[in-house]
Amino acid sequence: MAAGPYNYSYIFKYIIIGDMGVGKSCLLHQFTEKKFMADCPHTIGVEFGTRIIEVAGQKIKLQIWDTAGQERFRAVTRSYYRGAAGALMVYDITTFIVRSTYNHLSSWLTDARNLTNPNTVIFLIGNKSDLEAQRDVTYEEAKQFADENGLMFLECSAKTGENVEEAFLDTAKKIYQNIQDGSLDLNAAESGVQHKPTTPRNTLSNDQPQSKDGCAC
């Protein structure tokens, strides 16, 4: 096995939030396993997934915390926002979330704003875009909500995989851009981003002098 999966320069922490049943776990599963889980049980508390991606030639490990949407876990999942570099806020395009339960999405957003860093990238995801016939939330109104609140936005389908990769990657790109801008402090232990030196410190290159004496160490 090559060193591949473990060689990365950054770790980004993500959190996925949103009402129950909107497809958070499916999105994570689609992103990490490239498969759709048709009957996914409700998440209990929080679950965890990782994947290594590449942004601007840099290997980045995404550490993704998928939270339970059920109300009874709200208190628990709030503790996981801390130090997230990216927050994926998911709704279901087939339910009236933006209009009739506008407050719902706003309350997720309030939580995300209150419990994360000011420069945490918040990405709004309208999931289940494959169910066009049952659509209840138009692209435009969700887009407007996103624009008004300064969120990145995409419609995805955890089922077909459409835009799933993009949502996760665009978030990472934005975070990476923040690092380049200097707006994100890398030294912060809990900025949700951790930097690793890529060049191994203790590997000897061949041209270095070898010890001539017999001492093994």
Binding site: M1, A3, P5, Y6, N7, I11, I44, G45, V46, F48, T50, Q63, W65, E71, R72, F73, R74, A75, V76, R78, S79, Y80, R82, G83, T116, N117, P118, D185, N187, A188, A189, E190, S191, Q194, H195, K196, P197, P200, R201, N202, T203, L204, S205, N206, Q208, P209, Q210, S211, G214, C215, A216, C217
Partner: protein
């Protein structure tokens, strides 16, 4: 020639003259001459030709001199011939001499060659021998070379294994080490052949090489691991390879892992304290302790932090052991994780204990217990149950639950200690409603609980035992000085309140049933009290008592004291005025019942009793044996009419 011819002629003539006796020799001679064919006898022709050259004149003298001429000529020719031959002979002699000299030379050479040959024979055989030997040796040299290349380390490999003074590891180290190992293994083949000595020696040498290489590798690994105490350890592939190699030396492997564990343990403790007290730089995210005033959030944040760290640490150790055999890796991952997370137990415990002992109240304690239970399960997916972090969480959960029940018990004790007197309206006391509110708060917190449903049932029973029993006891004590009717009413009201509260929650059926039974008992009391109250007020109670006990031996009922027709008639008229407004005789206590349904029940059931009593008296009066005159006048209403009026 001519001479011989002449001689021949002469011999012929002489022989013919002597030989032939019968013939005339002359004639024969003539014949012969005649017969001679001169043209065919070439010799004769030549001789004649030659003769003609010098015999120019034929005369007697010349004929007489012919012989000597010819002889002279012959002599001349012979002399000439001799002269000529002399030269030839001389030349031949010289040739002969030369040949002889050559022969001598050759002989000499032959003998010399022979000597040389004799002399070189040894040398040649020696050379041949040496050649064969040399070939053999060359062959052996080749074999040895191959052998050495297979069974001996190259110089650079030795160097690589020895490493550098600064203790760093050459990239080719693992390949070299693998070769040492391979050679060591291959030696076993040697031991099976007749090369045992070589095998043993090489084995020993390789064993030494291996030992020192492993020792060095261990030092290096140890050093590397020691440096992995940053927030995010840089686990490079070389380190992973090192651990893979060290698997062959279980003790060193173990020590290396311990070193790693210790480094990570230090790191996680430091990060934990930082997260608690300092937060990120610039205060973002804010320190967890900032929320210590909110016990639930505070504990939740702490536990979530630990959960996430444990998950990250598991990833790190998995990365470190990615090359190792699955079985050894699995086991070690848990051991090391257990060790890594061991360090945070102390600060975690201190903080949770602070929260628990700060008397946050039973509801919070209960929520906290559930939170700890949740994290015990959640973190239990990462760590093995025997890890000290899980033990600590479990311990805290037990403590929390204990404190919770302590608080409940303490509250219960307080209830019984200073029992409130029942209020004038026989309604609920404030301690009852407060306690019920508490129960409600506790049980509702289960709704938002993160615990699996089946785990709740046990808690519920225990909580109810802990609160409801003393509560009922308190009510009884509080009611103990009250008169019967007041007591029944008060108790019904209290139990009803309790029942109302519990009915909202699951797993309370048994309790509710019990409460129902208790309520029923008190309702029974109230019903009979109400009925006898009415009978007394209407003056029928005396008559009812007598009728109930009357036996025919006593004689007719009308003859008994106070049962005469006049008295009965007076009582019946009173009863009749009761029937006109039945509610006028409802005891005040009954209207104090909180539950309308119970009020109704008491009314209905007491009416039923009254009706039954009336029926009994009615039939007794109508009974001719009792000898009431004008019995119809005494009891103007039939029981059916009474039923109608009272329902």
């Amino acid at each position: 020639m001519a001479d011989r011819e002449v001689a021949d002629v002469m011999t012929t003539s002489s022989s013919s003259s002597s030989g032939s006796a019968t013939n005339n020799p002359l004639s024969r001679k003539l014949n012969k001459i005649l017969e001679t064919r001169l043209d065919s006898d070439k010799e004769m022709l030549e001789a004649l030709k030659s003769l003609s050259t010098f015999f120019t004149s034929n005369n007697i003298r010349t004929r007489r001199n012919l012989r000597s001429d010819i002889e002279r000529r012959s002599l001349l020719i012979n002399e000439e011939f001799v002269d000529c031959f002399k030269v030839a002979k001389e030349q031949l002699d010289s040739i002969c001499e030369d040949v002889q000299a050559m022969n001598e030379c050759c002989l000499d050479m032959t003998s010399r060659l022979k000597t040389a040959k004799d002399q070189t024979h040894d040398l040649i055989s020696q050379t041949t021998q040496l050649q064969t030997e040399s070939q053999k040796l060359q062959m052996r040299a080749q074999v040895t070379d191959v052998f050495l290349s297979k069974f001996q380390l190259k110089q650079e490999e030795v160097q690589i294994l020895r490493g550098t003074r600064d203790g760093s590891l050459h990239p080719g180290f693992f390949k070299a080490l693998a070769r040492v190992k391979q050679i060591h293994t291959d030696c076993k083949v040697l031991l099976r052949t007749n090369q045992q000595t070589a095998g043993l020696e090489i084995m020993e040498a390789m064993a030494l090489q291996q030992e020192s290489a492993y020792e060095r590798l261990y030092r290096w690994t140890q050093n590397e691991c020691r440096m992995l105490s940053g927030d995010t350890p840089d686990i490079n592939n070389q380190l992973c390879l090192a651990l893979e190699s060290l698997q062959d030396r279980p003790v060193l492997f173990r020590y290396s892992l311990d070193e790693f564990g210790t480094a990570r343990r230090t790191a996680i403790v430091r990060s934990f304290i930082d997260a608690l007290t300092r937060g990120g730089p610039g205060g973002t995210p804010r320190p967890i302790e900032l929320h210590s005033h909110d016990p639930l959030r505070y504990s939740g944040d702490i536990l979530a932090w630990l959960h996430q760290s444990a998950a990250s640490e598991k990833e790190h150790i998995q990365a470190l052991l990615k090359h190792c055999a699955a079985t050894s890796a699995d086991e070690n991952i848990h051991d090391v994780l257990s060790h890594i997370t061991d360090g945070v137990c102390r600060p975690l415990k201190v903080r949770l204990e602070q929260v628990v002992v700060s008397e946050p109240g039973p509801v919070l304690l209960y929520k906290l217990t559930n939170l700890l239970k949740f994290y015990h399960v959640t973190i239990g997916n990462i760590l093995l149950s025997n890890s000290s972090l899980l033990n600590t969480i479990d311990e805290m959960q037990t403590l929390c639950l204990k404190m919770f029940f302590n608080t409940l018990n303490y509250n219960a004790g307080k209830l019984l200690e200073k029992v409130e007197l029942p209020p004038g309206d026989l309604g609920t006391t404030s301690s009852l409603s407060n306690t019920l509110q508490l129960v409600q708060d506790i049980l509702s917190s289960h709704d938002s609980s993160v615990i699996a449903i089946d785990a709740r049932k046990q808690d519920f029973t225990q909580i109810l035992n802990c609160v409801i029993d003393p509560l009922i006891q308190m009510c009884s004590v509080s009611a103990s000085r009250l008169p019967t009717v007041d007591m029944a009413t008060y108790m019904i009201n209290c139990l009803y309140q309790i029942q109302n509260t519990l009915a909202l929650y699951e797993y309370t059926d048994q309790r509710l049933e019990m409460l129902n039974a208790q309520i029923d008992a008190h309702v029974d009391t109230l019903v009979s009290e109400q009925a006898s109250f009415i009978l007394t007020r209407t003056g029928l109670s005396h008559a009812y008592g007598i009728v109930q006990q009357h036996q025919s031996a006593q004689g007719p009922l009308s003859s008994l004291h106070g049962m005469d027709a006049v008295s009965m008639k007076a009582a019946m008229s009173k009863f009749d005025s009761y029937l006109a407004s039945p509610d006028s005789l409802t005891m005040t206590q009954c209207s104090l019942l909180l539950s309308a349904k119970q009020r109704e029940t008491v009314k209905r059931r007491s009416s039923e009793l009254i009706i039954a009593a009336y029926q009994l008296i009615f039939s007794a009066i109508m009974d001719v044996q009792n000898k009431y005159a004008e019995s119809n006048g005494i009891v103007p209403r039939t029981p059916d009419q009474v039923i109608k009026l009272l329902s």
